[in-house]
């Protein structure tokens, strides 16, 4: 489900194309980002999410894994604000604890994609020739599969569970990073400044990691933020299919799946986890959009 991400390939190259002509400090970008209303909303949503995750044990009114079988599918009330689920557990508490899993999945999966994808893209773009050819073919192969299908296959091989879900979603995200970093590196490495460093006899890897990559940070940061949203969506999709996070962990996608059987009689079991996913992903997308606009000189008013 890496839908919106692909859109950014289009913008990534141009904004990395002028890295040296006007070095835009990250602070300035952040400032202009906060001044935009939408990205501020995104930032607030994410900060709230992190706070909820951090203070889950204070905020949650009930134990998220213990329930009473005699009070299954109770509708929202004073005792259970969002009702109870199929095992009589408090849905609000499960949503609150579930935020931890979502953040964890988002960060670690994207971390995997970021590290491997950036490395592959960087060496591919920087060294070119056969290495570029090889890496790009591997990327082509990965991209020949619809991402969710590839993730399903990987999980099917490695087994279900939180760790493997993160790995699968991470692997699926690698091509995006590799392509974006490669195209940025390609344009940056032609600049006079880098040519000078290479001519000055600096070691290749040193030039790449010290001088080239730092100049590609803008698209990487934007891609990272947007990817977290996508990763959370993908992981929730996997859990919804029963392949991701396993019970009794309160993962949002898995909660949705478990609640499906009662769609007619207890819709709240389905409604709230979906809203939680939607709002979280929305937060990351807003923030990512804001960052992109802030980094991109063209959209500056």
């Amino acid at each position: 489900m890496s839908a919106e991400v692909k859109l950014d390939n289009h913008n990534a190259a141009p904004l990395a194309a002028h890295p040296t002509e006007k070095k835009r400090p990250i602070f300035e970008a952040l400032k202009s980002m906060i001044s935009s209303k939408t990205s501020l909303i995104g930032l607030i949503l994410i900060v709230l999410l992190i706070l909820v995750a951090l203070f889950a044990s204070f905020l949650a009114p009930h134990d998220p894994t213990q329930g009473d079988l005699f009070s299954r599918y109770k509708s929202p009330s004073g005792a259970h604000w969002l009702g109870t689920d199929e095992l009589g557990r408090d849905i609000l508490s499960r949503l609150i604890y579930g935020s931890r899993i979502s953040i964890q999945v988002g960060l670690i999966a994207v971390g995997i994609a970021l590290v491997i994808g950036t490395f592959l893209g960087a060496i591919s773009g920087f060294f070119g020739k056969w290495l570029d050819m090889l890496v790009m073919r591997v990327i082509d192969i990965l991209m020949a599969f619809p991402s969710i299908l590839l993730a399903i296959a990987i999980v099917a091989v490695m087994g279900k569970g939180l760790t493997n879900t993160m790995i699968a979603v991470g692997i699926v995200g690698i091509p995006q990073f590799a392509r974006i970093v490669r195209s940025s590196v390609l344009s940056v490495k032609e600049s006079e400044y880098i040519e000078a460093a290479r001519a000055g006899g600096a070691r290749q890897f040193r030039v790449l990691f010290r001088h080239v990559l730092p100049n590609c940070m803008a698209p990487i940061i934007v891609q990272t933020t947007l990817s977290i949203g996508t990763a959370i969506l993908d992981a929730a999709g996997l859990s919804f299919l029963g392949l991701g996070v396993q019970p009794p962990k309160p993962e949002w996608g898995a909660m949705l799946d478990a609640g499906r059987a009662a769609l007619q009689t207890a819709p709240w079991v389905v409604i709230f986890p979906g809203l939680a996913i939607l709002i979280t992903v929305l937060g990351f997308n807003l923030l990512g959009d804001g960052l992109r606009d802030a980094f991109d000189p063209r959209t500056k008013k």
């Binding site: 894994t65 213990q66 329930g67 079988l69 005699f70 299954r72 599918y73 199929e86 095992l87 279900k160 029963g242 396993q246 019970p247 009794p248 478990a258 499906r260 059987a261 009662a262 769609l263 007619q264 009689t265 207890a266």
Partner: protein
């Protein structure tokens, strides 16, 4: 790009929008008028009547040749198309004449003679006779594909015939079976739908593709099969038994339980299998629908792997776990379709031992037993479960999670390992588990089909275990073996009662529930009588 192209695009947009708006104003999504509305029929229905019964179910049939498959969804359909030598009565597992009108056993129980019904024709017009029966039995022993044959008649690769050493046609309408040893459930077994008699001509004609062109003698004739969508049958007007009231039967695949239920509510299907327990109340509230319960001939249980070193091999631990599980609470997951179980076979079967007193729920007593066994501080165990609902366990995931919560109270930490049904079977048969949720639906209404299959040491071989508790008790084994060759039912009852007592004490299982699986049925469907074995012929059903 030319202007013309834009005009085209615009036109397309407009027409789509028009259709979209026109459509959302429509009222009833599904109309059930038959034949007259549509121009041409995809299926080549040969009957002129218009009483159609639509049966909604969760999965498609695998093959329509019962000698190649084991899944219930295939059997449901083949049970309409084929007849067996004898059939079960409509409401229980007593047998009645079908393709055979009467039969005799020799005194030693080794020779069975069946007299066949005359003037019966297969759907392809060929004659049913003794040669056809012999042909089918010979065919079944030619490949190892027929799982039920191997399993019911003890056939193996080296002995493809199993206990049936010979089948011969004494005359045109008499068949003689010679068994290598007496077999008490033999007649019961012959009534199982897998042993349906197929047309030899059709088998030869279609070869490897026979399973897509089934031809039997049954109350319904095969029309067409759209994979993963529907199978259509029409009635056999020349059926020797009760000719069906419905003209046409459609088996429709709707994998999701909730979606299937919505189709039932909308009136697009008439009967549904696999109702979510959550939706039971909705059925009762709906004036058009009713619940029809399948009589109970099953048991759901948690098997504990007695062959594993550690806590599970300790009888006291197993008894403690029996006490730590609150079955009354578990029953709330069954929404009224389940009864607490205490024996490894259901009370609807003869030989059930009602004198066994179940372990009662008692956390303190369980803790004491665990301490005596040396596990006072608890331990960690895994619990294998399947993702797919089963007739005896409508909510396996939730059942596992509930047990996980309950055992936490006696300091046992449970890790749930969830697999789809096939994988679950493979893994538990390999003995990977500490404990596993499982269940069994009886095949032929004989206690042997529960106790021997599920608890005898013969069936505790890794890789193909029916006895996934790997429970090995020689006394039980001797009793069960004796039960198989004893022909007198009273003597057998005593044997099986004794077995249940021993098993209760050794506690290789936590018996969980006997269920009456519910089917939701439109009220216009009358006289629908579900059979305990899991499928029933539809020729008795009446449509209003």
């Amino acid at each position: 790009m030319k202007r013309k192209q834009y005009v085209m695009i615009l036109a397309l947009i407009m027409s789509l929008l028009l259709i979209a708006t026109g459509c959302s104003s429509g009222k009833d999504a599904a109309t059930q008028d038959n034949g007259n509305g549509g121009t041409t029929a995809a299926d080549n229905s040969k009957s002129n009547g218009n009483k159609t019964l639509v049966f909604g179910r969760g999965a498609d049939s695998v093959q329509l040749d019962p000698s190649k498959v084991t899944d219930g969804e295939s059997m449901y359909v083949t049970n309409q198309i084929y007849d067996t030598l004898v059939r079960y009565k409509q409401e229980n597992t007593e047998v009645k004449p079908a393709l055979a009108t009467d039969w005799q056993t020799s005194d030693d129980g080794k020779v069975w003679t069946f007299h066949l019904r005359k003037a019966v024709k297969f759907h392809d017009g060929t004659d049913f006779n003794a040669d056809a029966v012999v042909y089918n039995f010979k065919r079944w022993t030619k490949s190892a594909d027929f799982v039920y044959y191997g399993y019911m008649f003890g056939a193996s690769k080296d002995n493809m015939k199993g206990i049936i050493s010979d089948v011969e046609a004494a005359d045109d309408y008499t068949v003689k079976f010679t068994l290598s040893e007496p077999n008490a459930p033999f007649l019961q077994t012959l009534a199982m739908p897998p042993f349906g008699i197929a047309s030899p001509t059709a088998i030869k004609k279609y070869g490897d593709n026979y399973f897509k062109h089934p031809v039997g003698t049954g109350p319904f004739i095969f029309d067409s099969w759209v994979k993963d969508d529907k199978i259509t049958l029409h009635k056999n007007k020349e059926y020797f038994g009760q000719v069906a009231d419905v003209d046409k039967v459609i088996f429709r695949v709707i994998p999701d339980n909730s979606a299937r239920f919505m189709e039932l509510q909308a009136g697009t299907i008439d009967v549904m299998d696999g109702l979510n327990p959550e939706d039971m109340q909705k059925v009762t509230d709906d004036s058009n629908l009713k619940i029809v319960s399948r009589p109970s001939m099953n048991v759901a249980y948690m098997a504990m792997n007695t062959s594993k070193k550690g806590p599970m091999s300790n009888k006291k631990v197993r008894q403690a776990i029996n006490m730590a599980i609150d079955k009354k609470k578990l029953m709330s997951l069954y929404q009224g379709i389940g009864k607490e179980a205490k024996n490894p076979m259901p009370p609807s079967l003869w030989g059930y031992n009602d004198d066994v007193k179940d372990y009662s729920y008692n956390v303190e007593e369980a803790k004491k037993l665990l301490a005596e066994a040396g596990y006072g501080d608890g331990f960690t165990m895994n619990l294998y479960t399947m993702t797919n609902p089963r007739p005896y366990m409508p909510q396996p995931k939730l059942t596992a999670e509930a047990i996980q919560q309950m055992l936490k109270d006696v300091n046992i930490k449970v890790n749930i390992v969830e697999n789809d049904w096939d994988t679950h079977l493979a893994k538990t048969e390999d003995g990977e588990h500490d404990a596993a949720l499982m269940g069994w639906t009886g095949d032929n209404g004989d206690p042997d089909n529960f106790l021997y299959v599920l608890l005898d040491k013969d069936n505790a071989k890794k890789g193909s275990a029916g006895n996934i508790a790997f429970y090995k008790n020689d006394q039980v084994h001797d009793l069960l073996k004796k039960g198989q060759i004893t022909m007198d039912q009273n003597d057998r009852t005593e044997i099986y009662k004794q077995v249940q007592e021993i098993v209760h004490n050794d506690a290789p299982w936590v018996p969980i529930a006997y269920t009456t699986p519910p089917m939701a049925v439109n009220k216009k469907v009358m006289d629908y009588v579900p059979h305990p074995t899991g499928s029933e012929p539809f020729n008795y059903i009446k449509l209003k």
